[in-house]
Amino acid sequence: YSQERSLQGMVTNAKTKEPLPGVGIKTKDGTKSSVTDAEGRFRIVISPNTKSLIISSIGYETKEVPVQQQGLLRIELVEQEQSLDEVVVVGYGTQTKRAVTGAVASISHEKFQDRSFSNVAQSLAGQLAGVNISQSQGAPGQSPNIRIRGTSSITAGTNPLYVVDGMPIENFNLNNINPQDIESVEVLKDASSAAIYGSRGANGVVLVTTKLGKAGTTHVGFNYEYGIQKVSRRIDLMDAQQYIQYYVDAHNNGWINSGEGRSASDPNSVRTKPFQIPEDFTDPVKRAALGTGTDWQDVMFRTAPSHQAQLSVSGGTEKTQFLFSGNYLDQEAVLDQNYLKRLTLRSNIRQQVSDRFAVGLNLGVTGVYDRTEGTEGKSDVISLGLQSAPIFPVYNENGNLGFKDPNSTWYRFAQYTDLQLWHPYSLTRELHKQNKSFNTLGNAFAEYTILDGLKFKTSINANLLNTRYEMFWNKDQKYGYSSALPAQGNANSRFMLNWLSENTLNYDKQFNDHGLAVLLGYTVQKQRDEYQALSAGNFPNNLVPTLNAGTVNGGTSLAYEWAMISYLGRVNYNYKNRYFLSAVLRRDGSSRFGANNRFGYFPSVSAGWVISDEQFFESVKAINNLKLRASYGATGNNQIPNYGPIGLLGASNYVYGSELATGLMLTNIPNPDLRWERTNMLNLGVDVAFLQDRFRLSAEFYHSVTNDLLLNVPVPDITGFATQLTNVGKLRNRGFEVNINSRNIDRDFKWSTDFNLSLNRNKVLQLGPGNAPLLYTDYVVQVKTEVGQPISNFFGYIYDGVYKNQAEIEASPARGDGFTKPGDPKIRDVDGDGRITEADRTIIGNNQPDFIVGLNNSFSFKGIELSFLFQGSFGGEITNQLVRFNGIWNAGRNAFAKVSNYWKSESDPGDGWHFKPTVDPKGYQERFSSYWVEDATFVRLKNIRISYALPQRWVSKTPAKGIRIFANAENVYLWSKYTNYDPENTTYQSTSYSNIFSNAVPSATSTVSVPSGAFLGVDYGSYPLPRVITFGAKIDF
């Protein structure tokens, strides 16, 4: 060994001349290795027969350098021009982009760093072709609705499968992962890449990979962000004076219409109860005294601050790599009293025990405390605030909230039962709520290299989630909400344990020109959900909010389980790294499937050809990469109720005299044949790169057919049931996606553009018995799914404005119907039979957009970086279900300001669109029509980021290695004609049968008569997406 000597060197970036840390240095024979430190320096011990060193680092071309006798070895590495050699994460492994033959969208952390969303999925919107991410609710941390390549199911779940560090979890809430801990997010879009996830792959797969330190020096990063959030786009509602006129006219119109000889000047004394008007509204002096009243949006919303701090330490040696991080987020919500506080801790470690044996552990712990309201529409606080009459003050003279306070002068209004004040504070301040959730996600693995190229890996993964929810409602809510609800309290808790044992065998070997990679695996997974709830009433006062102070009057506990056993296999073969072939087969058995169909097979094949590597292509200089891809395969959707095939018995008790007799009844029709939905998808793709990757384009076409749709088919009610869960039906999605990246200017000043466009066409090919359409109704809003049409068309009358006079009625199908008068709704006679009947209902819209686009422009110059992200959605419609409350007369609720342009008389016909209000509608006022449906097209300036890396000459005077300051703005501006807050708002979420994150009480039975996903695109009063501006600094040590 005396002849061994130490060699020193330094590695820099060939272009920027900056030192490169973490670069691997190896002797050619592989016996010795080293890594560069933060200054790019390394030291390696070599023997005399070492002739050269291999220098390698991800993102750089590997270099072989001859050993020199003395002095510092200076090495420059060139950045890889070939995007094809980027590594992407795929199911159960990684691949170079070159070898990918399916459709995988990959997004690395640079694309979402500095973004202020606590949920990474929100930051991905607009950045991924073929992935429609829409933020249905603007409350902090809310998961967006994600639909990958359209909607592949009608009544089963449509959420993608989440795979976090290898662990597949259904309905995972990404808010539990700190986005700054995420290295990359990959979306598996086509069947060949998702088939490895078998019966769970049909809605696409989202792979989330957390960071791990690199060998080299330890890296310490600290950052802090301060943000402000504000509702920048309000709903334009009537003020008090407009509202009073509306109220008076609705009562007068109703009264005149209620019998002969009645007139608007009739006093209350001759009117029956429903037509009486408060004197405050008819006496001009008293009316004027009410002024413009209260804007309840001012009361509900506030400018809300947020703080976020993060400390992370990462690094390692050749043998050990680690990342430790802690992040604390304290975010107030724009809605009064609402907030989100989150602490995330992460520890990722990988240790090479010996040459052949490595172990590791990724552990993430998240605690979230939040209060989130206003997301359920309808009777939730935001919707109720919008409905509240503007005539009332925020506080009455007694400091109470409502006019139903009998000691207040405002009580004079209480006898008018059609005046509404659901004071926002009665829900936010008189009702106390808190969610606490604790999520632990861990995976421990061991990897053993049996032979050269043959590896065995086993892992144990677990996701443990505990949530607690507490609620206490003060007695009477200061007369704000109902004025009479007794004090009551609820407490519930949820527990979920999901564990997975995964065992894989990997063989990866190059035989001359032939590359072969084989994967075999066996996995077992099981989940148990538990739910407990207690409620109490009879609280003596509001002093003690815990349930001990009241009388417990209700309690329940429930538990559910599911389990899966899977076998998987994949063969990847390539010839000359130019021709690629891949085949996948997975066999899934699931407890959710019927006894007659317990196991299913999900195969796929795919191929790729890098044409640009062919000899004949060398002459084409402009194109440096051209690759064709094709794949075909099958995936499944298992998102059905846990006990879907089984006939469940539910309690239905009777009492004989005073003797309680428990009863049991069948709650659903059993179906032992129940199984997964099966989606077969063809994917064709091409990747082209011009001018040394200056301009890159990738385009995909796909065609997928989902068979055996799990339909909760409405069945004739004479069977005793409204629906039956069955595998019938077929639907098709096909679409086109294009992704363009262009480095427009690439000098000191850099300008690059990313553009993506996706379109999807969805068509139902077959439904249940007789192809009977599926109709789901909520209030009057009806969605219809029928053969030949996309899923969930809005189905109702076509509204054509108002009848301006009697002559117009006489000349129309409404003549002689006995109720249509001038100023009433004009409904189109669609079937042309000269009358308005239910047969005139037709398709009046669909929420699915014609196409969606994302456009990002980034600029950089001397440490300054600036980017703008635009997101657009074109051609969809949205149903504004708030029309029920704010668009038509509804028991004294406030209305949209535009409604005050209603028809008042022949000489004052208003805008011709809004019909005259009446308290006793006899015609089509309350029916679902195109009056409720609006254009959902929008363009949003989604994000602006600007950051500045302080020059080294300043930083070098500090202990830090790098300092970067940044500002980030989300939801900067929205271009949309939509009446309510946001055309992305939808009150109904994707269907999910096992979402324990929801606060809804889980149903003990599997019968869900209306899948909520059918109503995607129906807005029943949602949480606005606030504009969020954050300022922050990142300091690296």
């Binding site: 039962t417 009879n538 407890s591 008790n653 009492v655 005299g657 239910e838 028991a891």
Partner: protein, 452 residues
């Protein structure tokens, strides 16, 4: 590992075998009475809202779909009508499944016969109401598959009636005497005979009606005072023949909702919320003779709100439970509901036999002049038929009889048109829900609702 049985639910695979299983299933079948005869059930709307007894002011839900009843503005798309259809057939299913499963169960024959008789009583009761409400209806006599359901079209009224008579005759022959009914609320022989009498009356077979009803005559007695029939704790009196049992006080018990649902909306003094259903018309109030104690017992004139103002909305006074606790905002009331009572039997007997003496037993209880006496207001009710019509209206007011009675005597259009816009006989049945026809276009619509 993959065979996971539900943890929080029983499942059907090993159910319907033992007597214990069948007891549970029978209890669930009885529990369907709660929806079938609930305060906002089809029977309630049909008997009272369509009649001149009741009206609605502000109500929750799709107001226009509820107002459509009092306004005779029903359409096939009415969501309430669809709810009724679903509730009715759901109730029938729970009865039919017991009948279907017990046939093949290896159990004691006596037990089986009694269960069958009880279930056939319930089924007869349900179908008799349904056939009056809709006319021709699909006749489902056992649990049917989805495929079979598409082939099950509307059976003519006559067939349904025959089916009802058969069920009730079996029930009458096999149900026990009241003394042998061990559990309050279970049907007795006389419940079946009373109902059978009512069916025969509706079929205009008065002799058969009389024959059935006479078997009940004398087996029960009128309570000495009309007021003694009512109250949250008055249950299963000597006058009660078939009564739905409730128990209030706890959300975990089957409490009753008549008090809350029939209280005026937003009253805040009677109940926390009021459903506003079946508010009493002035016309019903005026029907009572002066000095009839039943008027005060039946109708409240209004209530005094928190401010001390009297709000003159008339509402019922029969199912009152002011003591009911409301820990979560809903009164947990204790009031039972009588489906069949002896006064009804007496009035039907007069109708079946043309003999006013039964009618006079009812009038005697409330100390009103007997029919035939000089003091009887015969100028207003100048025939026995009209006297019975009047007496039934005041005696059984708001107990879900009025519109059925008027229909039976072909008087619905003539009487109701005085206060509500009913146009013709066709409107005395409900529409077949739109969605039923959309699902199975072979189902026909009732004439009044075609082309709407």
């Amino acid at each position: 590992f993959l065979d996971l049985a539900p943890i929080s639910n029983a499942n059907q695979s090993n159910f319907y075998q033992t007597i214990e299983d069948f007891e549970l299933a029978v209890n669930a079948a009885y529990a369907t009475l709660y929806t079938f005869y609930g305060p906002t059930s089809a029977v309630s709307y049909f008997a009272e809202q369509l009649s001149d007894n009741a009206t609605l002011y502000n109500v929750a839900g799709i107001q226009s779909d509820r107002w459509a009843f009092k306004d005779y503005n029903l359409k096939p798309s009415n969501t309430e009508v669809y709810r009724f259809w679903q509730e009715c057939y759901k109730a029938l299913y729970n009865v039919n499944i017991v009948l279907d499963k017990i046939g093949s169960a290896e159990l004691n024959e006596t037990y089986k016969t009694e269960v069958i008789a009880q279930m056939r009583f319930l089924r007869g009761l349900y179908y008799f109401n349904m056939v009056q409400m809709w006319g021709d209806i699909p006749l489902v006599s056992r649990p049917i598959s989805v495929e079979e359901s598409y082939a099950t079209l509307r059976s003519p009224e006559s067939e349904v009636h025959a089916f009802v008579v058969e069920d009730l005759a079996y029930a009458a022959a096999n149900l026990p005497e009241p003394t042998a009914v061990t559990l309050a609320g279970k049907a007795s022989k006389y419940a079946a005979l009373t109902l059978l009498g009512k069916v025969y009356l509706a079929l205009n077979q008065k002799d058969k009606a009389a024959e059935s009803l006479l078997q009940v005559y004398g087996k029960f007695s009128l309570m000495p005072r009309y007021e003694a029939l009512w109250g949250a704790n008055v249950k299963n009196t000597a006058e009660s023949i078939f009564e739905i049992q409730y128990q209030g006080g706890s959300p975990n018990l089957p409490f009753s909702r008549y008090w809350r649902e029939y209280a005026p909306t937003e009253n805040f003094v009677l109940t926390l919320y009021g459903g506003g259903m079946n508010q009493v018309t002035d016309d019903l109030y005026g029907e009572f003779e002066e000095g009839d104690p039943r008027r005060e017992q039946t109708v409240s004139l209004g209530y005094t709100n928190k401010e001390g103002t009297f709000i003159p909305i008339k509402f019922q006074n029969k199912w009152v439970d002011k003591e009911a606790p409301a820990p979560s905002g809903e009164e947990l009331s204790n009031n039972n509901f009588m489906v069949l009572r002896y006064a009804d039997v007496l009035l039907m007997l007069s109708e079946a036999t043309n003999d006013p003496r039964y009618l006079n037993e009812v009038r005697a209880r409330v100390n009103l002049p007997l029919y035939g006496s000089d003091a009887y207001p015969s100028s207003q009710y100048n025939s026995l038929a009209l006297a019975i019509e009047h007496e039934r209206r005041v005696e059984l007011a708001l107990e879900f009889h009025r519109f059925f009675d008027l229909k039976r005597t072909d008087r619905a259009v003539a009487v109701v048109s005085k206060t509500k816009p009913i146009k013709n006989e066709n409107q005395t049945v409900l529409p077949i829900p739109q969605i039923v026809i959309q699902q199975n276009p072979a189902i026909t619509q009732n004439p009044a609702y075609q082309g709407l």
